[in-house]
């Protein structure tokens, strides 16, 4: 069976809405998703200046329950879960035994014996298989296709919009806080999380809530934003994307993601021994800007005649109005850098990450 054929693509509950809004729909990780509603750059700017609304219902939602859930996940994942407070979200990852990153994800401690998790759509099946194989007494459920979904409301106006929707502004005071918010659409489960570097929320909606909540947020001023702008925004904020900056051949230490493997020096978890045995990193992730053309994934990076790295992701930044890219680069390289764009050399400038400062804690 060809799983890439349109007939077999999953659709989010909002697919008809996206079409009605004129979205260009594309296959993504087995789902038919909105790439843009007309302008990737315009949608990116809407998020930085006001608020944008993303349907990210393709992302996989897992629920883990039981008295042993936290302890078992503490071993199965890279980050510590035992000490994750109830009411908080954490970024972490699934590691291989050798410390390579199989996926990155967010855990939400919804109760003493209950942990909710969101993983990348492209890794849903593999993550499920690996996690359930590493867990013994924990009850596991894949909720991805329960008819509900995830709406990400992101940008400086997102608090105002959500407060208007709920009739209260008293929720998620801190970054990574969880809340259950009363609203005219019933209780909304939300988290102060996102993938844009802006102040924002991810709202976990039921099948009954998803369409009316989407509609109301748009009425209140949130601009629908597609996956194209999502990639621009996350790269501007230098947030890693599985399959680009991170993958099985990359470990969290060299990727500067120690916060995703909290307690790694002492805890017992899959991949922990390998991380503790690693030599000093020989490469790191760097930021690049270019004058005109976008340095795209896979383009080789040179310092003079020496091949020193490779581009992970590149986009045209709507905020900086120029191309930006991340690349893996050998450490200690101290000269002008060039990328090879399909046989032509182009000078690039090395810059600090992130390209656009985070405001997610504001």
């Amino acid at each position: 069976m060809d799983t890439s054929s349109p007939e077999t693509l999953h659709q989010t509950p909002l697919a008809a809405r996206h079409r009605e809004l004129g979205a260009k729909m594309v296959p993504f990780a087995g789902w038919e998703m909105p790439l843009d509603y007309g302008s990737i750059l315009g949608e990116s700017r809407a998020v930085r200046k006001g608020a944008g609304l993303f349907d990210v219902s393709h992302m996989a939602r897992f629920l883990f329950c039981g008295p042993a859930a936290a302890a078992e996940l503490d071993y199965a994942l890279g980050g510590s879960i035992m000490d994750q407070p109830i009411g908080k979200a954490r970024y972490t990852m699934i590691l291989q035994e050798d410390g390579g990153i199989m996926d990155d994800l967010i855990t939400y401690r919804t109760g003493e014996e209950e942990i909710f998790m969101v993983v990348n759509a492209s890794n849903r099946i593999r993550d499920w298989d690996i996690l359930t194989s590493r867990l013994d007494q924990t009850e596991c459920a894949d909720l991805t296709e329960d008819g509900g979904g995830i709406l990400a409301l992101q940008g400086p106006e997102s608090h105002r919009i959500l407060a208007e929707l709920a009739g209260s502004s008293d929720f998620c005071p801190g970054f990574l806080d969880l809340a259950e918010l009363d609203s005219p659409f019933g209780a909304l489960f939300l988290a102060r999380t996102g993938y844009t570097g802006e102040h924002g929320y991810e709202i976990f909606v039921t099948a009954e809530q998803i369409d009316p909540v989407w509609q109301r947020l748009v009425e209140l001023g949130a601009a629908p934003v597609g996956l194209g702008a999502r990639d621009v925004l996350r790269l501007e904020a230098a947030l890693p994307l599985y399959g680009h900056e991170i993958h099985e051949g990359v470990n969290p230490i060299e990727a500067a993601l120690r916060f995703g493997v909290r307690g790694w020096k002492t805890r017992d978890f899959v991949g922990g021994d390998a991380l503790r045995a690693l030599p000093e990193p020989t490469r790191g992730l760097i930021g690049l800007t270019a004058p005109k053309r976008v340095p795209r994934e896979g383009y080789p990076l040179y310092c003079g005649d020496k091949l020193v790295g490779e581009v992970c992701s590149g986009v045209f930044s709507a905020t900086l109005e120029k191309p930006i890219a991340t690349a893996w680069c050998q450490l200690g390289i101290d000269g002008p850098l060039e990328v090879d764009i399909r046989g032509k050399r182009m000078a690039v400038e090395r810059v600090d990450l992130p390209f656009v400062p985070h405001r997610s804690r504001d």
Binding site: I40, L41, G228, V232, R293, V294
Partner: protein, 127 residues
């Protein structure tokens, strides 16, 4: 339907012949598929071009794409303002967004290309 005063290549370029000079561009469909344009690379005057082979590149927010020549010949003029101001290509690809003019060998220079109706089928199959 797109204008029938010119011929089209499957890879979404067009050529319009006046005397022995063909004006060459990419179609509005190609632009629509690419999305917001950020870069255009055109050849030098005097460079020879070959049907079906790349003479330039166009890049959008989403992707980079070769531009193939619908004709054989020599570049005699380029739309030199275009690389620094892509608006005409973005909004008017079939007219003011033309890319290059090519001196061709004769009146049969467009033979074998698609007419507007045949090109419309290509568009329909890719839409």
């Amino acid at each position: 339907m797109r204008p029938n005063d010119r011929s089209y290549l499957d890879s979404h370029e067009w050529a319009q012949l006046q005397g022995d000079v063909a004006t060459v561009g990419i179609t509005d469909f190609a632009v629509e598929q690419l999305g917001e344009l950020v870069y255009l690379d055109l050849p030098e005057i005097g460079q020879s071009v070959t049907r079906g082979e790349s003479f330039g590149e166009v890049e959008s927010v989403k992707a980079v794409s070769d531009i193939n020549s619908p004709v054989n010949g020599e570049v005699v003029e380029i739309n030199s303002d275009l690389p620094d101001a892509l608006d005409p290509l973005q909004s008017d690809a079939l007219n003011s967004g033309w890319l290059i003019k090519v001196k061709v060998s004769g009146a049969d220079a467009l033979d074998g290309l698609k007419d507007a109706a045949a090109y419309e089928e290509v568009v329909a199959s890719e839409s």
